[in-house]
Symmetry: C2
Subunit: 186 residues, 2 copies
Amino acid sequence: MGRPPDPARREATLARATDYVLAHGLAGLSLRPLAAALGTSPRMLLYDFGSKQELVSSVLAEARRRGATRLAENLPSEAGSPEERLRGIWAWISAPERAPYVRLIFEVHADGLAHPENYPDRAEAITNWFDTLGATFRDIATTPDDTVTPTLVMAVIRGLLFDLTTTGDRHRTDRALDRFCELLRY
Amino acid sequence: MGRPPDPARREATLARATDYVLAHGLAGLSLRPLAAALGTSPRMLLYDFGSKQELVSSVLAEARRRGATRLAENLPSEAGSPEERLRGIWAWISAPERAPYVRLIFEVHADGLAHPENYPDRAEAITNWFDTLGATFRDIATTPDDTVTPTLVMAVIRGLLFDLTTTGDRHRTDRALDRFCELLRY
DNA sequence: CAGTATATGGTACGACTGTTTCAACAATGG
DNA sequence: CCATTGTTGAAACAGTCGTACCATATACTG
């Protein structure tokens, strides 16, 4: 009896809201412009997600899910030497198509630093973005429980991403990765 | 004729406002709470700085100035081997006392990525933070116009700072820097 | 003293925010 | 048909935001 619920609508809205956040950032996110861009109303956003907080959480989870999926699709899992994998990951994550994701990662990270109370699952929300990548380099470790080399590799990727997004100097950052690969050979 | 202007008040306000921003972050900065914390009024903040935008610009400039000063004081300029300097810089910038500055750097960087229009002097506002550090490593370059090695060194510092601020795992990040120093010896 | 400049408090405006309330509509089951 | 349940629009609420306006207090010069 009664009209049946429509969970598909909520998911469709979530997908488009994630697009919007990836395009416009989290910082100034407001329900009314978001709803207008999605062809819906603030009323419906709250109806579907309960509150803005939960909407944001859902969007971040969705973005994380997308990133992980894209990564799994485009990385040759365990094949190739560590250096080849490192180059592949850098080429993939530094590509312009990934820029919205990179921006969002930096945004969540920075906001989490200033306002940790908004991110109860901060470890999950931020770290996991890179954990998937870091896992790829576990076998670079000299001993099974060595976490230092993966940490360094991930630091180079993150640091070069910071540089690239700030300066836009792809040539210089690409060559810096080359230099790091040289160093890793020893 | 007339009451003389009091530029000292503006500078005192700027100093305390910078303290406040370093403590609370840029994200949710609002004139009324800021004024209350400073024992003044929004009215006076606008009287002194003209607009919130200019206040923020002034605060960022002041924070940059402070960072540069502290850096100049605590780094043994050109003395020591590159490795010693790198270790010194890491120890200095990763110290808890620098955490507010590091947070602010990441915050400005992230906000600049999503909303570049707010940072017409983005290169100055963000890059310069690290440029002072990067300059210290110019002599690591293999040739005079080699910018790649300094880029890599700065990337490691930035990337490890990202890691440290996210995970708080000082031991692992410290050891990752050790590992990088080892690699650099070759 | 008057005149003139800066300094400051109080208040309100208009635009925004997330959220709520109330009413109406749509689609299904009995 | 009717009752029930999910869906949706319009409007309003209470709050915050940056900022502007107006009056007044303060401190100096002549």
